[in-house]
Structures are given as C-alpha cells and as structure tokens.
Symmetry: C2
Subunit: 430 residues, 2 copies
C-alpha cells in the first residue's frame, strides 16, 4: 500500500536539512560554551574550516547553493522548548542543573552568526567571526553539513537497489565490529562521531546498534539530540579550543605558559567527577604534565587525542604515580582515530592498570571504506578550528606534528615556551 | 510521518499469506502439468512431504493451526485474469502460445485438492491425493509454506533492530556472492530457489539482486509470479516426477525399462530448443544414457541434479561424443546443491568444452547459515514427491543413494532393471 501523503510530502521538500536542531551537536560544546559564556564571553574569535585531506576537492563535489542552503537553515534554528526543558531538567553525570539559568537564557535566545564562504583551489573557505560563545556553536554543524553533503554527492547517482545494498553492507560491518567488541567484558565506550558522521540518520542508527549490541558497555553519545531522543547519556568534557584561545589571549610568554592551566582552573571551579578530564596535548603532553600544578593530578582522568595512544597513556600513568596518585583509580579516555582492533589492543594493554574508556568517532559513524567504486565515501580529515582570538592567531602543537596549526613564527615561539622538542609524525587517519 | 492507514491495515491481517498466487510456483510445474494433462490426466497419484533433515522437528517449530491456514489459503486461490493473460500471451523460450487453450481452460478452473495432515515423531505428515494434474500443483506451494513458516517461527522472537541486522547480513552475503560470480564473463545462471526459499519477499529481493549484479548473465527465474512482476524470463524444463510416475505405471520390467524414454518421447513431441533438456539421473545416469535412443542425443542438453556434478558432466560429454554429437553445441545445466564456489569450479572445468548453465536454488534464496544463534535458519532438505501412482509405489534411485526413495523391494527391482550397481553416497546439502 503506497502512502501517497508521504510521497507527496517528500516531493515538497525544498531542502532536506542535515542539522535539524541546535542540540544536534556535541554535548561538550554546550559545556564549553557555558564556561566561555561565564569567563570569556567578550572574546572576538574567528573559526575556520580546514580540510586536511587535500585530495578530496570539496568545492568540486558539493554545490555551493546547496551548502549555503544548509548553512542558512542552521542560522534559522533556535532552541526548541522541549530541548531547553531537557537541558535544564536532565541529570548529566549524576548532577542536575548542570546548565545555569543565565546560560540557558543565552542559549534560548542565541542564533548562529553569519558565515563567509569562498571557493579556493577546489576547497571551500568557510569562516565564522564574532563573539566566542556564538561562533563556537558553528563547529559541529558546519562539519556535519560538509560531511553529509559529500556523502549525498557520492550517493546521488546510485539507484534504490544499490543504496539498499550499500547500507546493508555498512550495517553488517558495524554489527561485526560491535560483536568483536563484545568480547571485552568491562568495556566502556561512547559515540563521539557527530562531527564526521556519514549522515544524521546513519549516526542515529549506529547509536541504536551500540545500544542493542553492547548494552551497559555503551556509555552514551556525545550528540545531545540523539541522547535526548534515544533516552541515553550525553557524554563529553572539553576540547582544544579552550587552551588555544586562552593561549592566544596571553600577553607574555609567562602568561602563555600558564594559559592551559588557567583553562582547567576555570573548569575545576565549575565541574567535578567525570567532567574533570585533562586534555593535555594541545602544546605537548609531556611538558604539560611536567609543569602541571598538583591539584590537576587529583582530577578524574585524562583524554588521549593525538600521538601514540599507548605511549600517551603510559606517560599519564607514570605522572600519576610520581604525584602519588593511584592510576587504578584514574580514567584514561582514548579518542583518536579508533577502530575496533585499536580499541581491543589498548583495552588489553591498560585494562586492570587504570580505568579505560573509549570515545569512538569517525570509524563508528562513517566507515563506508571500500563500499563504493573509487572509495568515494571513505572518511577524511575535516576540522573546524579557532584560528584567531581578539585578532591574534591561535596555535595548536598536539602530540603529532601532522595535527599542528598556526603561523610558523608563532608555532616556533610556542614550541620554545612549552619546551616541545622533536615529535614523531603519525598519519592522521580521520 | 507515520502512515496510520498502513499500520491499521497490517493489524487487520488474519493471516499473512505465504503463497499469494497459483503462479507463485516453478515454471516447469506448469510445463509438466500441461504434458501430464495431455498424456496421463487420469492417473491417480499421491504426493508426500518428506523432511530429509530429521534433526529439524517441524511439528514442534510450526503451529498446526497456522500451517492449516496457509494450506487452506492456497486451496482458495485460482488463476487471476492477469496471470492467465501473461501465460497465454507471453513468449517463453522464443515461442508464443506455449500453453494450449485446453490446458489454459483447465488451469483457469483448477483448485488445489484437499490435503491430509498429521503429526508423527515431531514431523508433519502431509499428503495430497487425487488426479495427477491437480495434485502435482501442490508440490512447490507446500514446500514454500513449510520453509517460510519455519523461518517465521525462528524470527518471531527477534526485535525490529535484530531483524534489520539479520537481513542486512543476508543481503551483504548474497551481494558478495554475486560480485564473486561477476568474474565469470560468460556465466549463465538462473534462480531455481522457489521451493526452499527463506520467504517470498526474500526470493523477490534475491532476484532483483541478481538482475542488478549480473545483468545478462542472469537468465531468469523459475518462479512465474516473480518473472511476471519483474518482467524477466521464466525458466524451467522437467523434473523427476514424470519418470517416477511413468515408471510406477509400467506393467512389466520391459515397460519399466522403457518408461523414462516414454516420458521424453512425449516431451519431444511437444517442445524444442532449450526445453529439450534431459534429466537422466532418476534411475542412474550411466544406464540411462547407455540405453538411450539416438534421437535423445540430438536434444539440446542435460541437467545434472545428483551425484558428483563434474563426473556427471564428463559422462554426458563422452556420451555425446560417442553418439557423434559436438559437446560444444550442447548445454549442461547444473542444479544440485550449488553455491558460488562450486559454480566457479564447474564453470572453469567445463567452460569452452560445452555450454554451461546453472540453476541456483537453496543457497541463492535461503542462505541464512550462521546468522542466528543455534543456526536456526540454516536451510534443510525438504522435498514433496510423488509416492504412488494408481496405487503402485514410486521409486527414485538418483545418482546419490542418499536421495533414493521407495519401498526396499521395489528399489531392489529397479536397480536390477536399470542395471544400477554400487553408488557413492554424498551428503545432501540442501
């Protein structure tokens, strides 16, 4: 029985929106936004989209008109009443009213600021300028839009049957990964795959597969909209943009050296428990830990997001031991370029020595590798980063020079200030 | 947008019919039915369902009431006007009006006769008695109903998500088989999987996958309803029931020895080209070919349905050479327990030496092996055979004693008459 109404409705679509809600974003964006809103609301920032996979010419694949439509659609979004209720009333990490009233009022009124879009060398130059608490909300939707428009561009010539087989294969692949992961009895794993997902609907399916296949071992999703709809935990802590902007705002080398700790001091005041997770790699993990104040060693754990992950975790364990902390009580969250075999390897190496958790991103929500001719749906490395703050450029060093960002002279200065020496370059998978 | 009408409609179903049409059957059933209708219409026959896989207790899995509902539903079916038009007007094997008017009038009026159903030792005893042209139409729907009710019994406790993953995996598996088969440039392959299909909808999907993946290399389906709906060729020739019933009707050993040739003499008169395919194994291929009249060597080809298939094809090639025929002009159709690797092996061995074709059955339309716990959806060997004709038992010897049927003393007599010696027993896969 054909549902005529549905078919007519489908034909009526002007656009098929990719981002349907302001909370179709990572939970940590909202946590960081509140922190920025309280501590640095008046900072002028600029965020830019950067495609680290130059071989994928986004401006040739994606129609500019369609991209503008999707971006404009996001600018028209505002927080829905039910979303606001969920954010205000929900318990996050065992705490109610995580979001304060003044921040919620801001969020209820916020609209995303204008964007600047140009084509250059087959890529889109997409930048966002304005006050930090507003501009920062662009990162995740901008990435999700570009990723999904790329998927759509590749899928548009496939017929209904080919599409069905494609998704059957992708479903089978993910389900087999999940069955492999079931072998790890104490696994703790979450979905971190919003920004580089194949599509919204696919991410939603992936989360349902994780729920069905892993039960309690699946700890939640970073995506607030999916967390709300599937009635599961929203997961997240903090990201590189905080130390990057704080650092750019520093007026001297001494202030610069202190900036990453200032970020965490602000955070410390606001959060406890599982939200006190150190992200140490922005300007080199070793130097960061060596220079860290003792109160940071009391935090719950650490997130390893670049460099060799096993080495990063060993470094953290040694650091806790040196500071008189018991690594067994600490949490290590791996979140860089994970796939099931890497997860199993890291789990086996660290399980029992510390509490281990995984934030599984791109290869959870966008593993279509090898499923279309020319591998046109393979994931790629797209980021959207703070590039300047109050007119000064930002810098990121990371534990992998392939992930470094910023003007050369500033990178040199940061390396000197943070005592970063030779680094091993690793392939950036996704 | 929920389609309320569809949901209400779904809830209203009394039964979900498995066989929805009298032409949801194998094309060769109709061809054979016409031959029987012309030559032996008045024969009283009895057909019985036999589950060769004793470990699967069908009467414990399948509710008797549901089975009766499905069987009763088939008894209520009659040839629809569009189906009759298609059979009358369609071109089969390049010939129009393959079905004569008197037969079409019979088919338009026919209703399937009563059935007898009992439970014994965890199995269903299901028999059909009456005139041959009517009783024979039960074989394929009876098998399809039992197969699909078994699938439904296993699936009924799975939730929506598990079902989605199950079918995704089955789709992926079939699509990978098809991609493997694409390596064979001159492949000729057809769907013979109606009788042991997982379900009607699944067979329909499998046929669409074959069309999409193999193009012209996919030569058609044995299922008339699917052939009509998908607008592709209906494929088939003849089966063991003809020589089995003809043999049972023989009044002497001499007539018995002649019976398989009488079948093909009747067939020869009616059909030409691709319909002149010898099925030689009912009472042993070697003896059949050795005693065959020369006009049979002029037929188009041979179907290998039991025994070692490569040996059967070599035997046929030698026989053609002995009879002065060119094997390169002949067609060998393999149809026993095929899967993609067996197909590739046989193709490589015989391609170029003769024309090769494949009738792919159970492992095309029912390969869910290993996809549910306890392997509850693995295919099994269910047949529905003529067991008596005018009160005399039928016998099948086959080229594999595991496929033999009939009372022991009659089997001994047939072996003597047809000169069948020692046979190699092979596992019956499906």
């Amino acid at each position: 029985m054909t549902d005529i109404a549905t078919r007519v409705y489908n034909h009526k679509w002007k656009i098929d929106p990719i981002v349907r809600s302001l909370i179709d974003t990572d939970f940590y964006k909202l946590l960081m936004c509140q922190s920025v809103f309280r501590n640095r609301a008046d900072t002028d920032v600029s965020f830019s989209l950067i495609n680290r996979t130059k071989s994928i010419k986004l401006a040739e694949l994606i129609d500019e008109g369609e991209l503008r439509e999707q971006l404009d659609h996001v600018r028209g979004l505002s927080l829905a009443r039910g979303e606001s209720t969920w954010l205000r009333g929900n318990m996050f990490y065992g705490k109610r009213q995580m979001f304060r009233s003044d921040f919620m009022e801001f969020l209820e009124g916020v609209r995303l600021p204008a964007y600047h879009l140009e084509k250059r060398d087959g890529q889109y130059e997409l930048t966002f300028e304005g006050k930090w608490p507003e501009v920062m909300l662009w990162e995740v939707p901008a990435l999700a839009i570009l990723m999904e428009l790329r998927s759509r561009a590749v899928l548009k010539d496939m017929d209904r049957f080919e599409l069905q087989v494609l998704y059957a294969r992708a479903m089978t692949r993910l389900w087999e990964k999940i069955q492999t992961l079931r072998e790890l009895p104490d696994l703790r794993i979450a979905d971190f795959g919003t920004r580089r997902r194949h599509s919204f609907l696919w991410q939603d399916w992936c989360v349902q597969a994780m729920i069905a296949g892993l039960g309690d071992r699946f700890t939640g999703t970073s995506n607030c909209l999916i967390a709300m709809r599937q009635d599961i935990e929203a997961i997240g802590t903090n990201a590189h943009e905080l130390p990057m902007v704080y650092a750019a705002l520093a007026d001297s080398d001494a202030e610069l050296r202190q900036a990453p700790y200032d970020v965490l001091a602000d955070w410390h005041e606001e959060h406890e428990g599982n939200l006190r997770i150190i992200l140490p790699d922005t300007y080199g993990t070793k130097g960061f830990l060596a220079g860290a104040p003792d109160w940071l060693a009391g935090w719950t754990g650490i997130r390893i997001d670049s460099g060799d992950p096993a080495e990063g975790a060993e470094t953290a364990i040694r650091w806790w031991q040196e500071r008189g902390e018991d690594p067994k009580q600490k949490l290590v969250i791996f979140s860089d370029g994970l796939d099931e075999n890497k997860i199993i390897r890291l789990y086996r190496q660290f399980h029992g020595r510390t509490r281990v958790s995984f934030g599984w991103g791109t290869l959870l929500t966008n593993d279509f590798r090898g499923l279309v001719p020319g591998d046109g749906l393979a994931p790629f490395s797209l980021v959207c980063k703070a590039v300047s703050a109050n007119g000064r450029p930002t810098v990121k060093l990371s534990d992998n020079p392939a992930k470094a960002m910023g003007p050369t002279d500033e990178v040199t200065r940061y390396k000197r200030v943070f005592g970063v020496g030779q680094q091993e370059e690793l392939d950036v998978i996704v």
